[in-house]
Every structure is written in structure tokens, then in C-alpha cells.
Amino acid sequence: MSKLCPPFAPFLGFAGVTSAVSRCASVGAAYGTSKAGIGITGLGTFKPELLMRSLIPVVMSGIIAVYGLVVSVLISAGLSPDTEYPLYAGFIHLAAGMSCGFTGMAAGYAIGIVGDACVRAYAYESRIFVTMVLILIFAEVLGLYGLIVALILNTRVSGLEGICSL
């Protein structure tokens, strides 16, 4: 093994895969779903006809989880034992996974808190619905930015054939 392709390089790639899905999906989306769910069940006890509209924060937390899933599937498609895997590619995959993971965590946190407060207020004032959707969209594009950075980083991995024999 050359210095540019050490045998521990795939460890970093797989660490990127794990951090994308476990931080985005488990931490961010779980916090968003649970915090918004508290407000929604509080609302549902006395206004059950508003349930479909008040579930929007939960759907948006699900989208954050999908972002993490797509990034980890994308990174793991570039890992295989029969192609050479330089350390550079390992670092790129780690960075991509972590950028999607941490921004997803932040977005899920924001969606949870905003969803909880806005859903409780929606029970009393129905015009707050549009404001709630707007704030939630702004909170969700935080996760989208991390995904875009992960995609841009992932495109830098291609074109590295023959680097291990240098």
C-alpha cells in the first residue's frame, strides 16, 4: 500500500456514511418529531380538526431524515474493495457525511422548537398557519445547504484513478 492509499482510508469513508445518517436522521429528525409532537398532541386534545395541518413540522423532520439517508447512500456507492481508495477520498467522504449530519441536526432542532410553539399558537389563531410554514421552510433549508455541500464535496472524489501507484 502506498502512502496515498493507506489501508485505514475506508474507515474514514464509512465514518462519513454513519455520521450522515445517524446525526441527520436519528438526532435531528428525532428531536424535531418529538418536540413538535408534544405540541401537536396538546392541540389534538381540543381541536382535532386541525391535525392534518399541524402535522407539517413532523413531515419536515422526515425530510431531514431523507436528506441524511440520501447522502449516506450516495457516499456508500463510492466505496468498494476492488477499486483503489486514496486517503483524500476518505477525508472527502468524512467531510461530506459530517456536513450533512451536523446541519441536519441543527435543522431538526429548529424545526422541533418552532413546530411546537407555532402549533400551539395555531389552535387559537388560524392566520398563523402561513407564518408557521414559512419559518419551517427557512429552518429546513439549513439541512438542504448541508446536503448541497455534501454533494459538491462528493463530486471531487471522481477522477482519482491511478493515484495509488504514484
Binding site: 392534518m52 422526515g62 431523507v66 440520501v70 447512500v73 450516495l74
Partner: protein, 95 residues
């Protein structure tokens, strides 16, 4: 008291019936859509995984937009039915 509660009850009955089916449908679409798009594109259309990832994200956001539109349409239908029920009660009161 029951005169004022009648519009709310009518609205409630029509709304709660279809809610579970819609929610199940959207959950299924959110679970299957993006990842199905990703794998469908990598197997059949293009070898470039980044394009497939972008398509998967677009599908996920389309599911979200569809959900918001269905929720808003339901809201407008609620308001229309409450309005109609109130008008019926007014007509009955004046008779």
C-alpha cells in the same frame, strides 16, 4: 349551545374520515419516493450518482409541497363548509 356546535360537528365528521388515509399515503410516498428515485436513476438512466441524489432530493421536496397543498385545500374546504352550515342555520332561524 348545540346550535353553535352543529357546524363544528359537521366539519369534524367530514374531516376525520379521510385524514388517516391521506397521512398513510404521504408517509409511504416520503419513505419510498426519494430512495426509489435514486436507485431507479442509478440502475436505468444514468451512472452518475450525484444527478440521482439531486433527483431524490427534488422528489422529497415535491412530496412536502404536495402535503402542504393538500393541507391548505382541506383548510379552505373546512371554511366553506362552516360558512354553508352557518347560512343554513340563519335561514332556519329566520323561518
Amino acid at each position: 349551545m348545540s346550535v353553535q356546535a352543529a357546524p363544528a360537528r359537521i366539519v369534524e365528521q367530514t374531516v376525520i374520515g379521510g385524514v388517516l388515509a391521506k397521512l398513510a399515503l404521504f408517509s409511504l410516498m416520503l419513505a419510498v419516493g426519494p430512495i426509489g428515485t435514486y436507485f431507479g436513476m442509478t440502475w436505468y438512466i444514468t451512472k452518475d450518482t450525484n444527478i440521482a441524489a439531486i433527483a431524490a432530493i427534488v422528489v422529497a421536496n415535491l412530496v412536502l409541497v404536495g402535503y402542504i397543498m393538500v393541507a391548505i385545500a382541506e383548510d379552505m374546504q373546512d371554511q366553506l363548509q362552516t360558512q354553508q352550515a352557518k347560512e343554513k342555520l340563519e335561514v332556519r332561524k329566520t323561518q
